[in-house]
């Protein structure tokens, strides 16, 4: 399972580009005794949109700030396009960052904000004006060129900040919680818009977020961070369907977790016994592990079926009673309590209940799942 996982990860990395554009090599950052970024290795391909996802305080911003040069790594190297930039000052790096607070210059107009970086490069006036114009067009802020930042709404400020960080045509664009300051509705609208703009300019981009929906929508690959460590790097679908550890499984989406151990270990299948389930779970593929090894099973709610008839087969089902139902329109979440006391969540589409009425509270039901629906987690 683990080997399968890592080979898939490498395949995804290789597919995105043969030679990595950005290499983060064994980077560590300590503040005093506190290790905030812990031996991170990561390769990013050219023109990739990569998202770092993790809970608050896990070190995402710190990693990003090391890429921008605002912090110096305690050890490790950062290589961009073949050049070691680990000890380059922020103003010498071909990298631009969009700050969480946007950090627009309050005393400058929108156009002056965008032109700032270009002026630092000493570009001729004509070219600056032309590029500012193009950036304003890109983010659709032409009308507002002479306004000051405080005269703009949150969404408009966000677009100016983006234009400002794209104006210098950086080799790498860093976005720290790019939509964090916007309200939920505007955020969803802006997600795809932002991706479109980034793809239009064709820039390699690393973004940081703690919103999994944002990461899944915008990024081609996601890195899950916890406690300064990178736990899994994969495509959004991969991360969701094949998490490689408990943290990822629980962090991304909802899941049912069962602790257990391997009781049968064959090349083409395994059985896992859990104290929380009445009978061993059958998994339709082999895993790299040994007999008796403790593992976790992750079972997504939408993979769990609910029925009144007893399912056939000897593994993958359990009897229980409906403990709670959360009606969410298109589908409902059934909380089914097993005799062991474990509550299993099942997300059932409304269309499931065409022929028969949906079960109600305290009704005895069966939950079941297919051979390969449960994911075995060894860490």
């Amino acid at each position: 399972m683990n080997m399968l996982e890592s080979s898939v990860n490498q395949a995804a990395g290789a597919a995105a580009g043969a030679k990595p554009y950005l290499q983060i090599v064994d980077v560590v950052k300590k503040f005093g005794d506190n290790t905030v970024v812990d031996h991170i290795n990561l390769n990013i391909a050219r023109n990739e949109i990569f998202a770092l996802l993790g809970s608050s305080g896990c070190g995402k911003s710190t990693l990003l700030r090391m890429l921008a040069g605002m912090e110096t790594p305690s050890s490790g190297r950062i290589i961009l396009d073949g050049e070691d930039i680990t000890h380059l000052a922020p103003y010498e790096r071909p990298i631009n960052m969009m700050f969480q607070s946007y950090a627009l210059f309050p005393h400058m107009s929108v156009a002056q904000n965008i032109a700032f970086g270009l002026k630092q490069d000493g570009l001729p006036r004509g070219e600056i004006a032309e590029r500012v114009e193009r950036m304003l067009e890109l983010v659709q802020m032409k009308k507002y060129a002479s306004r000051k930042p405080f005269q703009l709404s949150g969404g408009q400020q966000q677009r100016v900040a983006l234009a400002r960080s794209l104006a210098k045509r950086p080799k790498l664009l860093l976005l720290d919680e790019p939509l964090g300051a916007l309200d939920k509705k505007l955020r969803q609208q802006t997600q795809l818009e932002l991706v479109n703009m980034i793809e239009q300019v064709g820039v390699t981009c690393i973004m940081v977020t703690h919103d999994q929906e944002e990461a899944m929508t915008m990024a081609g690959r996601i890195g899950i961070m916890s406690d300064g460590q990178l736990l899994q790097v994969a495509s959004p679908g991969e991360i969701y369907e094949r998490p490689n550890c408990r943290f990822t499984a629980e962090f991304i989406g909802e899941t049912n977790l069962f602790g257990g151990h391997v009781v049968e270990d064959e090349p083409d299948y395994v059985r896992i016994q859990s104290a929380e389930l009445p009978r061993p779970v059958h998994i339709g593929h082999g895993i790299t592990g040994t007999l008796g090894m403790p593992v976790w099973l992750s079972l997504r709610p939408e993979r769990v079926g609910v029925s009144r008839q007893q399912p056939v087969g000897d593994g993958n089902w359990a009897a229980g009673t409906v403990h709670d139902i959360a009606y969410l329109g298109g589908f409902s979440i059934f909380h089914v309590r097993l005799p062991t006391g474990k509550v299993v969540k099942a997300s059932v589409p409304a269309t499931r209940w065409r022929e028969e009425a949906a079960p109600t509270w305290d009704e005895p039901v069966f939950v079941s799942w297919a051979d390969n629906d449960a994911v075995v987690l060894t860490q």
Partner: protein
Amino acid sequence: MNNANNLSVFGKLSLGAGFAFLYLPIVVLVVYSFNASKLVTVWAGFSTHWYGELFRDEAVLSSLWLSLKIAFLASTMSVVLGTIAGLVLARFGPFRGKSLFAGMITAPMVMPEVITGLSMLLLFVQMQQWFGHPAERGVLTIWVGHVTLCMAYVTVVIRARLVEMDRSVEEAAMDLGARPLKIFFLITLPIIAPAIASGFLLAFTLSLDDLVITAFLSGPGSTTLPQLIFSRVRLGLNPEINALATITVLAVAVLVVSANRIMVRAERRRARLAAAAA
């Protein structure tokens, strides 16, 4: 203000008493500046005689000029030094002796002025004996003393502004390719400009009416306006001083009212523009 009409009789009385307590002395001062008599306490009819006298008084005019000059030089210097000190305290990470530095800079605020003045006087006297410089006390020594005092206040004002300022704005400038010195002049300075202006005004007024430190550090031929007034009053009250005080009150009132106007107008404009943006 709007519901002043709703006040009870007691409320009106105490409001009146409060205002009288604050402003009656000033009213008396202004009224007696138009007194024809030389005696301050005896009213002998309206006259602007003392104003004319004031403008012919060379001593008053030259000490006023000196006071303004010192106030301008001292507040300029304290703004420069105060900005640097504020920057060091707000922006440089923890360094050895930082709290000592912070304490030393703000000490003149809490130290009795007599102590500050006396210690500086002793220092200057020593320096004169050792290096023969400063040769005598005068504008230069007063200026140094005032800078010491005013800089403490300016540092506090500017440091507070720097601490509350969003640091990521400076980081953004650095990220866009500006070097630290350029960031200071292009980004930090414009953003903290209002704090610098108020620090300057604060320093200017502090220096303008300082008497104690000046008394220790001034020499023959360098009499500031507060010193002059103080020495004249000791010789006996004089309507000319009333006239001078009246002009001062008028100048302060005009300054305060117009500063207020400007601020209110800027605030309204800001609110209108922000409303237009939303």
